[in-house]
């Protein structure tokens, strides 16, 4: 892969790619900073711009938005006490108190550098792990692929906002939606109900625009309390002296490790990572009582870990073709438009493209550091744009993105229908990401099951003969046991026995 680095840098240093990187980083920071938008909506809004771009430019735009929007969330968390993205939720605890006491510029300095280090750390993890994982996954046949997808979907559902049953239902609904249209093995049209439109099957872009963008607009309409402009504390950008950084190096590195590790696990995402990192930093700190009152270590733990998730989350997406969260599922959908199919074969068949992705991620993080630093004042002014003005623009970009993909106006209705469905599901805390991830994985799951059954003469028990599949099935089984509450019941029984023996 090293031999492709010079050509990857050469491809990067074209006007279009550099412009896309800079524009994506700039837009990503703004999108992340504005509460109500966030990484997924940012990527969805950028989709129509990528349709006519060459793959390198399109990937540059999307990756830079993906990376910088996570950082952007910290700006509003620090300056207006509202995290721009869920990933920055823990940055509020110490970032806002710092801004309140007049250290807003210093807090933004910590957040920017912490995010940069997190991003670079996760890139190293991605470069080291993803190729090895892809090489290992080359041994996978249909049975192992089936076990892996079932495991990934169960994990994603398991960690879905604490509502595992609803997460599992969402994932299964997504899997079912993928079956509408022609059967990949026989060509038989299924579940079209004599509709010409459904005969062709649903496509991922209108579906994810509906579930993520339109449902978000309706959800904001449902829950918006007031339209007052937020009070923004002073912004700017200031770096703390080295003496302030030195005692916090271990906090940053540990948070990077936690973020990258959690990022690799499908479905867990940055929100979980930041709280784990924050709690870890507080537990190990000599002065934990300062956390929540403007302690820079708390802000660094949160910001380093949420950006460290970005590379980690791309490991299963790039190496196995399994997107772990909303951001990577949009990235995967967008890459597919450009005939870049993430998965095992990406590393063996397009190593040049993989290297290009690594180089683009590296440059995105560098640009995020510079644009974030120099544009801090501008970004803090942008926070005055209210959600009620942003949401109509999100809808406008949704319409453009949904129509342009096939020039089919029916896709606009698909967007609205699934927007309403997504909104109704969100009202009852059904997470939207497992639906889209299920939709993306539906066809490969069915294909691998049927191929596996043909290989084993319809003997499903033979699926357990594969050691890899057996391990994955066992872990999946444990997760499902937890769903039925057996895990809790067993631990309660143990605790009761322990109490009895102590007495």
């Amino acid at each position: 892969m090293i031999e492709f680095i010079p050509s990857a840098f050469a491809a990067t240093f074209s006007v279009s790619v550099l412009l896309a990187l800079a524009a994506g980083t700039f837009a990503g920071i703004i999108i992340g900073a504005l509460p109500g938008l966030g990484t997924v909506l940012g990527l969805v809004m950028a989709l129509p711009f990528t349709y006519v771009m060459d793959p390198a430019t399109a990937i540059a735009l999307l990756l830079s938005i993906y990376v910088s929007s996570i950082y952007g969330g910290s700006i509003s968390a620090i300056l207006i006490n509202v995290p721009g993205t869920p990933q920055s939720a823990a940055s509020v605890f110490d970032g806002y108190p710092m801004a309140q006491r007049g250290d807003g510029a210093l807090a933004l300095g910590y957040a920017t550098v912490g995010s940069f280090i997190g991003g670079i750390f996760s890139l190293i993890v991605l470069v080291l792990i993803a190729p090895q994982l892809a090489k290992f996954a080359l041994q996978f046949g249909p049975i192992e692929t089936f076990a892996l997808i079932v495991f990934a979907l169960t994990t994603i559902a398991w960690v879905s906002s604490g509502e595992m049953l609803k997460g599992l239902l969402s994932a299964t609904i997504g899997l079912f939606l993928a079956l509408i249209g022609p059967d990949a093995m026989t060509g038989q049209i299924r579940f079209n109900f004599d509709s010409l439109f459904l005969s062709a099957g649903l496509t991922v872009i209108p579906l994810l625009i509906g579930f993520f963008a339109v449902s978000e607009i309706l959800y904001q309409a449902a829950v918006l309390k007031d339209v007052k402009l937020p009070a923004v504390t002073s912004g700017g950008f200031k770096l703390a002296p080295w003496s302030e950084w030195k005692p916090r190096i271990m906090v940053i590195l540990r948070s990077c490790g936690i973020g990258s590790f959690i990022g690799v696990l499908p479905g867990t995402g940055a929100t979980a990572a930041v709280f784990v990192s924050y709690a870890d930093a507080k537990r190990r700190s000599p002065n934990p009582e300062d956390f929540g009152k403007g302690e820079p270590s708390g802000l660094l733990a949160s910001e380093a870990s949420n950006n460290a998730v970005s590379g980690g989350a791309m490991v299963p997406m790039m190496a196995l073709g399994i997107p772990g969260d909303g951001g990577t599922v949009v990235l995967m959908g967008a890459l597919t438009i450009h005939n870049v199919i993430p998965g095992v074969r990406l590393f063996s068949q397009q190593p040049d493209l993989v290297t290009l992705i690594f180089v683009l991620l590296f440059l995105s993080n560098i640009l995020m550091l510079f644009i974030g630093g120099f544009g801090a004042n501008l970004f803090s002014r942008m926070l005055r744009i209210p959600t009620t003005l942003l949401m109509p623009l999100v809808f406008m970009m949704s319409v453009v993105g949904a129509y342009a993909i096939r020039s089919n106006p029916v896709d606009l209705f698909v967007v609205v229908i699934f927007g309403v469905v997504g909104f109704l599901l969100r009202l009852n805390r059904f997470p939207p990401a497992p639906i889209i991830i299920g939709f993306v994985l539906g066809a490969p799951l069915e294909m691998s099951l049927r191929q596996g059954l043909i290989l084993t003469d319809m003997n499903f028990l033979a699926f357990f003969a594969s050691p890899i599949a057996l391990i994955l099935f066992c872990i999946t089984g444990l997760i499902i046991l937890n769903l039925f509450g057996l895990g809790n019941a067993i631990s309660k029984r143990f605790r009761r026995k322990e109490t009895q023996s102590n007495n």
Binding site: L168, L224, M391, G419, L449, R450
Partner: protein, 151 residues
């Protein structure tokens, strides 16, 4: 609405839909010969629908057994209906009148439905932003925009 009632309602609706779809898989259109020892084309859908049914019924039971009085997030129904209506009008309008005619109206209507207070800024944004996006994407990047079936 109480969370437990919502769970029962959602579970019942999803279970009903799964049953209807499951019955549909027995339609004669799916009775084909299977080549190379393949399973039926509706084998996997039936498995999935079975899982959806079981999980939905678990949601119903969970709601039934729940002793919690937690309620769903309080929502502004009027604003949701207005915003939903505005999005639908915009989509229908884009179909018939095209993006350039309808999108400024759509952006304005959705902003209005969401309750943006300053109509002047909303009006200017509604006029400028769709035009800017159109110029960038249609003129420079050749992305296709809905032309409108009536125009």
């Amino acid at each position: 609405m109480q969370q437990k009632n919502a769970d029962m309602l959602y579970g019942a609706v999803l279970a009903g839909m799964a049953c209807a779809m499951f019955a549909h898989t027995f339609s004669p259109i799916y009775q084909n010969e299977f080549l190379f020892g393949d399973v039926s084309t509706v084998f996997f859908p039936r498995v999935l629908l079975g899982i959806i049914f079981v999980l939905s019924m678990m949601l119903v039971v969970k709601g039934k057994l729940s002793t919690s009085d937690a309620i769903l997030t309080q929502i502004n129904v009027k604003r949701v209906l207005l915003t939903g209506g505005a999005t639908l009008i915009t989509v229908v309008g884009v179909w018939y009148l095209g993006y350039l005619v309808m999108m400024p109206v759509g952006v304005f209507l959705i902003g209005l439905a969401l309750g943006y207070p300053n109509l002047v800024i909303l009006g200017i944004t509604s006029l400028i932003s769709p035009l800017v996006v159109w110029v960038i994407l249609a003129k420079f990047a050749q992305v296709s925009f809905a032309p409108g079936t009536l125009l």
